[in-house]
Subunit: 82 residues, 2 copies
């Protein structure tokens, strides 16, 4: 069965986010104020063919651990949809 | 009032996604099969101080159009939370 995995990868709290900081700075100079806690992460979507929801989730989890996320500094969150 | 904006930026359909393609290729060589339609996008979170939900949404929309998304090749989706 075909499932769709939607994965968010974000930096752990306390890890410096230079991209987010850069965006914040530019927004300030563009005149957007009142913006704070800017964080940039990754969003990855893919389809996978598995027999059930649980095995789709397990496979997505293995893929995150092995390739997509650097678990030392990043958190990931997986959502599986049919 | 403080709102949290959660923004997904994804490539429009039909736009080539070389990062997604690279991930797919590596997954294949790592032995993960049955994976398709891999797409990589961006996920951006920030806090903003606005008087109500609508003005928070409008401000986030202006920020996406002006800075975060390249609307020629990317779609963006904004979610505002309190």
């Amino acid at each position: 069965m075909a499932y769709k995995a939607k994965i968010h990868i974000t930096l752990k709290e306390g890890v410096l986010d230079p991209q987010g900081k850069a965006i914040s700075n530019v927004l300030g100079s563009l005149g957007f104020d009142g913006i704070s806690e800017m964080r940039q992460g990754k969003y990855i979507e893919f389809s996978l063919d598995e027999k059930d929801h649980l095995s789709a989730k397990n496979k997505a989890d293995a893929i995150c651990k092995k390739l997509l996320a650097n678990t030392v500094i990043e958190n990931y969150h997986i959502k599986i949809e049919e």
